[in-house]
């Protein structure tokens, strides 16, 4: 089983800014991901949207059976996910996960 975000070396990024720029940066690819939700498990702890480095998630207005508002992707940011896996790893409820896309964008 693939474990997201452990094995690959990437440029260090925080909120779209490259904080450390390796000399061989053009050899790196920025991965792309799609966010999947299992809203019925979410307890709205807020971690996924607070700790996403792309700030692309938010609390939605939907409401689940336990009465919580699960997250959703912000409008217009559907293509922003870099498959870093932070939301997936920090979610205590196994309610969000990422599928990494095969066609990766070249970093310029």
């Amino acid at each position: 089983m693939a474990v997201i975000g452990f094995s690959r070396i990437r440029p260090m990024m925080y909120q779209d800014q490259i904080t450390r720029n390796p000399v061989n940066r053009k050899h790196f690819v920025i991965p792309k991901g799609t966010v999947h939700f299992i809203p019925e498990r979410c307890k709205a702890c807020t971690y996924c949207w607070h700790f996403c480095p792309k700030d692309m998630l938010e609390e939605s207005s939907a409401i689940n059976a336990m009465g919580y508002h699960p997250p959703a992707v912000k409008e217009g940011m559907e293509d922003s996910c870099i498959a870093c896996g932070m939301c997936e790893t920090v979610c205590p409820e196994f309610a969000i996960y990422i599928e990494e896309a095969n066609d990766r964008e070249r970093a310029h």
Binding site: A44, T46, P92, Y97
Partner: protein
């Protein structure tokens, strides 16, 4: 929104039991997630993995893992695991329990398991109080902290767990928080390869009890405290690495200590062989 068909960890979970029992924002679910990630990384076959716990919020964790798991009596998980490891040394035994279970009720057991260097992987989720029973103070509650049973501030000094476990003879000692998920995952994966007693402390959040009583408005506020106040120092002087939430000192994290020495099982085997030859 893309509705997920199944979480990649579902195969490792008793997913029919989700949502689990823990409060919103509780760090224990994150530790379970990190543990399953580490298990996947390590490639250990599931038949060789055993999870054992005692009593408390964290002690519910093995019940959600799709592997052999045992929920034992309060504080006695180490004794249970010691017997199991001696009977079947091939097993990878992980003991995941809370600070109350491992260090208050079970303090005597954990001390001696480290001294004897029993080959166990102990993960102690430290939420700084007795969460399940309503937030009473215990041996890990930082001095001055408010809990249900220390309303004017805890008058006792708390245990510094990595310092204590290193002194007791553990082979591997590290400390992370529920926010340091990647480092935690690596440490758990490493502990699977350590021969001897390994100890990982995970500083966790308990929003409705310890968090609420100590000025953290919500779960995120305590996680944010970890983000702002933790310092990673693998060579830290553990004597000075006690945890405080007073904001004036950093919380020290790291992969503190790893030294191999003969395990209880090594010596036991050696003695058995010697005695057999002598006869």
């Amino acid at each position: 929104m893309i509705q997920g068909k199944g979480h990649p960890k579902d195969a490792f979970l008793r997913s029919e039991r989700l949502p689990h029992i823990w409060c919103p924002g509780c760090g224990i679910g994150i530790v379970l997630n990190a543990y399953l990630n580490a298990l996947a990384l390590s490639g250990i076959p599931r038949e060789e993995v055993v999870l054992i716990s005692g009593i408390g919020c964290t002690a519910r964790l093995p019940g959600y893992a799709n592997a052999d798991s045992y929920h034992t009596t309060h504080g006695r998980s180490i004794a249970f695991a010691t017997g199991m490891k001696i009977a079947n040394p091939k097993l990878h035994i992980s003991l995941i329990s809370g600070d109350g279970d491992l260090f208050n009720i079970g303090g005597n057991h954990i001390m001696h398991a480290a001294r004897r260097n029993i080959d166990l992987n102990v993960i102690c989720v430290n939420n700084f109080n007795y969460g399940m029973t309503g937030g009473q103070h215990g041996s890990t509650t930082p001095a001055g902290s408010v809990t249900a049973s220390s309303p004017y501030g805890n008058l006792e000094q708390s245990f510094n767990l990595p310092y204590m476990m290193k002194a007791m003879g553990a082979s591997y000692v590290s400390r992370w928080t529920a926010l340091h998920v990647r480092q935690l995952t690596r440490s758990i994966a490493k502990s699977f390869t350590v021969r001897g007693f390994s100890f990982i402390e995970v500083l966790s959040v308990c929003p409705p009890n310890f968090g609420k009583d100590n000025g953290f408005a919500d779960a995120y506020a305590q996680m944010q405290y970890f983000r702002e106040h933790c310092e990673i120092d693998n060579n830290a002087d553990l004597h000075n690495a006690g945890v405080t939430f007073s904001g004036d000192r950093p919380i020290i994290l790291g992969d503190f200590y790893h030294k191999t020495r003969p395990t209880f099982h090594d010596i036991e085997r050696e003695i058995i062989e010697r005695v057999r030859v002598d006869r």
